[in-house]
Symmetry: C2
Subunit: 457 residues, 2 copies
């Protein structure tokens, strides 16, 4: 192979620094998940195709990576499709497995498959990669991690309260202060559609409303009109567009707007419960905000809808989202299992922390001490010391070759190793070590105990 | 979907306990890797097919999972292959990506691709899943993790010494005492082949020799004969079969046997260097053993060959292996980069720890305290306390629904939660908490501070 190798578009290599920073985020999220009582599960990277296909709409089906059957797969190919050279039609006969597209459907499959071994309510978290054959662009990849926490088997609104606290906990731990946790409720969206006489156009209605931030009030109204929602109904929306003020006061306005919709009033009641609880419990650094335009994957959610926005001033899409879905496992034949969950957007959180310079210095678990190699005798003497350093939890290593001292020192420099130890004949004879602080440049001849103490500081 | 969903054969779901146990092993290995100065990288789950194909032999090519191109993939299908309905021939034209088969080839690709950003010698570790379309059987899966540590860019034998110490460190930390680290050297195998006049049959010779443990001396000789190795040569092997005693004494015998082979003597010299260093440094719980029949992926290795056997009495194949390869990156056009590395077999280590009951109890980070839910007022009061517990690092949660007390207590029991807290009107009024120890059955009404202290113990 003459040309330099490369990786598929939309995928990434991660170097040591990037892995360390990503693990810092993963570990923070994982720690909070566990403190809140969530337990980890893992599912296979690929599922049987019929587990995934048809669960994410036509667009989703298209974006699922399919795995070619092994061996002489054409032997079992669909004859009609083969003659017609119809890719879509052929696929199911030559591909039986597909890469995970999200963590929610595999979780639903897991719950149904293992329902007899699960003690409900079941609080699980899952941190694993997913794959999508999407067009790659800035911040959108074909392989990326999802970090999900869900509870299944309880309709209690205390779960929603807990998830808001969980978001607040994670982002506070990451020192990412000032995020906004937006909340809405599917029942409010249904209520509004009902009130304006567009119940049969709920999706068109919410898709348009969801764009308010981006395209503004006039364009939203235009889009609704074009989708066949009556002008009279749209006029009734006016109070919604001017909704503002505190969570409480918005709730009061909504009560008036939705006074004729039972479903809408139920949604308001749920939101008020959650807001009251959060007010009583308090948040560390996040703010809870009612956003009646928030829709996300509407078909999916049946109650609360969450989305997290980065602190003001940071240009970035949502860094988290979630909601309640009353029939998660129905697709696999297990009815009446309500679920609610949230997700953290690892890649975007990473970019935000990078932009705001919030990664702690200590994240990169670099080597702390490099022993210069002056030859086999010195190397053996050094390795004995290195063993003691390691037993004391210090990351230490020996330069493998007795290369020129300058080369070895440059190696330490390039890797930003803070301490270098020099052991020559003199040191061996006196059982001492010359420790050089690469930052200050100072150099001391000391005993091993002292060396360990100095580095530990 | 009427039938219960399932997962593809050879793949696995992991429940919370299994994930916790696996993470215990991963974290132990990762911690040792970092103490020894290895840095993490990650590579994409799928690579361009031409990065992987042809690197693992015909058998490997067959076992690589290929990903179907997206969209109307038949549009670009190889016309001849399509007409001939030749699966093998068609594949490259409808599949451009393939799932990672091991971590070594992607690592080689990474080193070549990023050679200008890497400071050599480069010590990297990588813990990621790989996929093989192998026939699933006990202990063999289609998706499994590899844990690899490699150094590239140095021929120093101190690396081999360090890897033996690394194996010893990891297995000692896992309390898995008494493993045997077997070592051999490709140059010794070449030397033996040379001495018995079978240099041109090196692979046949080593494949047969590698079976000594399994099929015994006579069958090995039979197989060699059948492969065309002369009886005269086989006779010369006799001293090898009776090789025994200490590492030192085996080295001495080998010196006699291989006295006419320069390459063989070089191999002996390398082994002696490593053994002397390890003897001087000492091992914690493992034993280093010379095994001249050890071959593993012979085509691959050019120097040291490692394999780790579980403690005596545990029936299990090797739980780790590795070796030196002098031309890792040559396949991608970067010559003369010597590498040496080892791998840990996660699944087998898991089985061994399970069999010997070596998983620490504390591995499963279960919830420690469940608050019983008696209604909304009590729940809110409880959540305030739960926040304080969590801030103190205690995993705590509220039962989400105000279900019957018996049901909630059973939930705590089934999940093995050690403490339950009951908060009713009385407790709220006196600002106290009734803490029930689920193991001893004792119950105390205490204040929050005390509760936190008790649970922390």
């Amino acid at each position: 192979m003459a040309q330099k190798p490369s990786i598929p578009k939309g995928t990434r290599d991660f170097n040591p620094e990037q892995v360390a920073k990503r693990n810092y985020i993963f570990n923070t999220i994982r720690g909070a998940f566990e403190t809140f009582g969530f337990q980890p599960i893992e599912t296979p990277s690929f599922e049987n195709s019929d587990t995934l296909m048809g669960k994410y709409g036509d667009e989703g089906d298209r974006l699922i990576f399919k795995i070619l059957n092994s061996g002489d797969y054409l032997n079992k190919a669909n004859t009609d499709a083969y003659e017609e050279k119809d890719s879509n039609k052929l696929t199911p006969s030559i591909s039986e497995k597909a890469l995970r597209y999200d963590l929610t459907v595999p979780f639903a499959r897991y719950v149904v498959q293992h329902q007899n071994d699960i003690e409900f309510p079941f609080k699980r978290y899952q941190i694993q990669p997913v794959w999508r054959a999407d067009r790659p662009q800035k911040g959108r990849f074909r392989e990326f991690y999802q970090c999900d926490a869900d509870v299944v088997g309880s309709k209690s609104l205390w779960q929603e309260v807990e998830f808001i606290q969980l978001y607040d906990t994670v982002f506070s731990k990451l020192q990412l202060e000032g995020v906004t946790i937006k909340i809405n409720n599917r029942k409010i969206l249904s209520g509004i559609a009902e009130v304006i006489g567009a119940s049969n156009k709920l999706i068109d209605f919410t898709v348009a409303l969801d764009k308010l931030d981006k395209i503004g009030e006039d364009k939203v109204k235009e889009e609704m009109l074009s989708k066949g929602i009556a002008q009279e109904g749209i006029d009734k929306l006016q109070p919604l567009f001017s909704l503002s003020g505190s969570f409480d006061s918005q709730i009061e306005s909504l009560k008036t707007i939705l006074s004729t919709s039972n479903e809408g009033l139920k949604g308001i009641e749920e939101l008020a419960f959650i807001d009251n609880a959060i007010t009583a419990l308090g948040l560390k650094t996040a703010t809870l905000q009612l956003d009646v335009t928030l829709a996300r994957g509407l078909n999916y959610y049946t109650g609360a809808i969450f989305e997290v926005a980065a602190p003001k001033g940071v240009k970035m899409g949502s860094i988290g989202g979630g909601g309640r879905y009353d029939d998660l496992t129905g697709i696999f034949g297990l009815k009446d299992v309500s679920g609610v969950g949230i997700s953290f957007g690892l890649d975007r959180i990473y970019l935000v922390l990078e932009e705001l310079n919030l990664f702690p210095e200590a994240v990169n678990k670099n080597i702390e001490v490099l022993f210069i190699n002056f030859g086999d005798n010195e190397a053996l003497f050094s390795l004995k010391a290195i063993n003691k350093l390691r037993a004391n939890g210090i990351n230490a290593e020996l330069y493998p070759d007795a290369a020129k001292m300058k080369k070895q020192m440059m190696h330490a420099n390039k890797r930003n190793i803070p301490f270098v130890v020099l052991v020559g004949e003199e040191e061996i004879n006196s059982n001492t070590y010359t420790l050089k602080n690469m930052v200050t440049g100072t150099q001391d001849k000391i005993e091993l105990e002292q060396l360990i103490e100095t580095v530990k500081k």
